[in-house]
């Protein structure tokens, strides 16, 4: 009797969770398989009917259009593969500069939102609320059409020290010219960086052993700035600048930053910084006030408290959402297509797609590139996050 009572109750096979699990999964798998098959066969028929070539052969064809910002040499007779590369580099350029500037601005605004100064706190709050509640595309168009479009022509351009000029043709900055001995300056800079790292390691060991502190920051600053400066003077200053000069109706010389880049960068930086500011604020608020008080009671001053106690703990909260903001900025840079900045999306999924009509290949490649950038950045930040994560028992 007792053994009978403990026997598992008999259920119909269609009520058995294991059978149900297998059945549902099989059904899902078959549906997805069928959809995939339908897509592929439809695509084959449609492509044949529309006489569109397939495959990646188009990458070797001549592009035949010009691009107004190229980081590598490019002419109209180059191939679509080259176009892809030019676009990718332009995307990475705006993403990297944008991430650096947005981080700086975001941290400044985030800390300003926590400032004891009432007025500053309110201004930072208003900035965050205003920027976060307006679409990014709206802001890109605003900067490009309204602000940069309203700039005067080259003859009336705004200038800074007669070296930097801002007009509706873009931003003109001096171009550095490197002389013969400049390589020694670079070597000195590298030596300064290596020496700083060595000093830091030594100072840390000494502090752990004896408790004596060493001014690492000032030493490192002196090494990194001082050594190249000495090298520069010793080699007879082999560095010059070619300033842009107005000739006729436009500037010659210097480096021209196209207005599309300026507008896109301004919009991306101000937009992302508003989100980063909120992340920073939340991160700092997440560190309980007891930590600050404990640090004060140990005799630490405000600076070291922030640097040694609050920020390391806040970073744990800040890093994961910060990563997704970096990814957002990179993905949002594809909105460049709306104002004609030649990023990957504009030149490849835009112009190249129009010219060749090979939608499947081009959109798949474009998506794959963004996917790879996303996954790579997440992997990098996950590694960093794991490094600084709280080690629990």
């Amino acid at each position: 009797m007792a053994t009978e009572a403990h026997a598992p109750p008999r259920v119909a096979f269609y009520n058995d969770p294991r059978f149900r699990g297998i059945f549902y999964q099989l059904a899902l798998f078959l549906v997805v398989l069928w959809l995939g098959y339908e897509f592929v066969s439809n695509a084959r028929d449609n492509l044949r009917a529309a006489r569109i070539a397939t495959g990646l052969g188009f990458l070797d064809n001549t592009a035949g259009f010009s691009i107004n910002q190229t980081l590598i040499p490019y002419t109209e007779s180059d191939t679509y593969a080259r176009v892809f590369l030019v676009g990718l580099l332009n995307t990475l350029l705006v993403a990297v500069i944008g991430i650096v500037l947005a981080t700086i601005l975001g941290f400044v605004v985030g800390i300003a939102r926590l400032s004891p100064n009432w007025l500053l706190q309110r201004i930072a709050g208003a900035y965050v609320e205003l920027i976060r509640n307006l679409p990014l595309l709206f802001q890109i168009l605003f900067w490009y059409l309204a602000v940069l479009g309203a700039l005067p022509g080259p003859r009336q351009s705004y200038s800074l020290f007669g070296e930097v000029f801002l007009s509706n043709r873009g931003l003109f900055i001096p171009r550095p010219l490197y002389g013969e001995g400049f390589v020694w300056v670079v070597v000195a800079f590298a030596l300064g960086v290596i020496a700083s790292i060595a000093v830091r390691i030594w100072a840390r060991r000494r502090q752990q052993a004896t408790g004596a502190q060493f001014p690492v920051l000032w030493t490192a600053l002196g090494l990194i700035v001082g050594l190249p400066a000495v090298a520069l003077v010793a080699t007879g200053v082999p560095l010059g600048f070619e300033a842009p000069t107005l000739r006729g109706f436009n500037f010659v010389g210097g480096i021209r930053v196209i207005p599309e880049f300026v507008a896109l960068l301004l919009a991306l930086v101000t937009y992302t910084a508003a989100f980063i500011a909120e992340i920073v604020r939340a991160g700092i608020l997440a560190v309980s006030h007891g930590q600050t008080e404990a640090a004060y009671s140990l005799g630490l001053r405000a600076g070291p408290t922030l640097r040694l106690v609050v920020i390391p703990q806040a970073m744990r909260v800040i890093i994961p959402p910060l990563t997704s903001q970096y990814l957002n900025l990179t993905k949002n840079s594809s909105l460049a297509v709306s104002i004609g900045y030649p990023d990957l999306f504009a030149v490849f999924a835009g112009t190249t797609l129009n010219q060749t009509g090979q939608a499947i290949e081009i959109i798949a490649i474009t998506m794959a590139v963004y996917l790879v950038i996303s996954l790579f950045t997440s992997a990098l930040m996950n590694w960093y996050n794991a490094r600084i994560a709280l080690v629990e028992r």
Binding site: N42, N117, E129, N133, V337, S374
Partner: protein
């Protein structure tokens, strides 16, 4: 025990009169000193902030209100040379383009259908948002189930004697709201399903969900819209012709569903396992456990995240402009191209107007989410 005598210092036998605190530490002056001018650094910050405010606010007020032109019929009325004074915002431009910004190219004599849809939506949405109004379940069914159908029939037409209006004629705020509302209504259930799939114990279901979510989250929305516009027609039988707006809607819905799934997953993870186990012990099946026990708690936790997603979705609707669907921003850009209204202040006026409209929608949503959050934070508040 004997009590110690306390001697109070007195002047001539009587208590000294209570002095008022120093004027510089109380009232408005005290507040200003304590908050704005305590220490040289804070003073410097205050002065810089004041300079910033002075730099931004007076010109803005001057442009938008003081110097603005309020009435007029053409660009002539907004040109400084013609008016004879500095000209700020050119509001007649907004008035002239207003119908285009709201209805797009929807036929003039059919505008009442759009108005009726807006009115119906507002009439159903407002009571849904006010907690005190009764019949919430009926209201929700009407808004999420019946209203989309009615709105579809009203806007598209072709039945009940209503003239058929192609979606290509739609535009402006109408398209913005159609895309946003469809995205919201579709992405929430789809996102919940995906989140459940990602937390499922069935390996194939989980794998598909993870791939789906990570794929859409890894690519920019604009590539998704291009995918939906140029690639989707190739994948479907060539006898099917899908409307351009519908394609964009599919793209937006799939994209936002992936983001919604991650928000919901966060909520599911915040619910202790004991809740699942308790439901199972009561003999509830999977769907009853999720629908009655876990999801109500999980969704409550992530309401701020969901509303943030809605705000993001609303802002992202502007991207349909890039695939040639003229939403609010697209119509604005088209209106800028009108030579009849090209004045130096037209662009700033248009952006100011559009900015105010977008801000009202997004800011309203975020304030409402704060309100709901505070109302629902019952279980965790001490």
């Amino acid at each position: 025990m004997t009590e110690e005598t306390v001697t109070i210092p007195t002047s001539g036998g009587a208590l000294a009169p209570t002095l008022r605190p120093p004027a510089a530490t109380v009232g408005a002056l005290g507040w200003v000193r304590a908050n704005l001018f305590n220490g040289w650094f804070n003073t410097l910050l205050t002065l810089l902030s004041l300079y910033l405010v002075w730099l931004i606010v007076p010109p803005l007020v001057k442009f938008l209100i003081v110097d603005a032109v309020w009435t007029g019929t053409s660009r002539e009325d907004c040109l400084a040379e013609k008016v004879g004074r500095p000209v700020g915002a050119c509001w007649p431009f907004v008035r002239a383009k207003f119908t285009q910004l709201v209805y797009g190219f929807y036929p003039w004599d059919q505008h009442w259908r759009v108005d009726l849809t807006f009115a119906l939506g507002a009439a159903l949405l407002v009571p849904l948002l006010i907690p005190r109004v009764p019949y919430k379940a009926l209201n929700a069914v009407l808004f999420f189930g019946v209203f989309p159908v009615v709105a579809f029939v009203l806007l598209v037409g072709g039945v009940f004697g209503l003239q058929h209006v192609e979606t290509r004629a739609w535009g402006g705020l109408l398209v913005t709201l159609v895309v946003a509302v469809t995205g919201i209504v579709v992405s929430l259930p789809l996102g919940i399903l995906l989140a459940l799939g990602r937390r499922s114990r069935l390996p194939i279901v989980r794998t598909f969900s993870v791939i789906f979510i990570e794929f859409w989250r890894g690519v920019p929305l604009i590539t998704v819209l291009f995918f939906a516009t140029y690639m989707l027609p190739l994948f479907l039988p060539n006898t099917w012709t899908i409307d351009g707006l519908l394609r964009a809607l599919v793209g937006v819905a799939l994209f936002s569903a992936a983001y919604m799934a991650e928000v919901v997953r966060g909520g599911l993870q915040a619910i202790p396992r004991g809740q699942n186990e308790g439901a199972m012990a009561l003999g509830l099946g999977y769907w009853k456990m999720m629908g009655l026990i876990v999801l109500p708690q999980a969704l409550k936790v992530v309401i701020p995240g969901i509303v943030n997603n809605f705000i993001g979705l609303f802002k992202d609707t502007t991207l349909v402009m890039i695939v040639s669907i003229f939403d609010f921003l697209g119509q604005l850009r088209a209106a800028f191209a009108d030579p009849n209204w090209s004045t130096p202040s037209t662009l700033f006026t248009g952006f100011a107007f559009a900015g105010i409209v977008y801000f009202i929608f997004c800011f309203g949503m975020s304030r409402y989410s704060l309100f709901v959050e505070r109302r629902l934070a019952t279980g965790y508040r001490r």
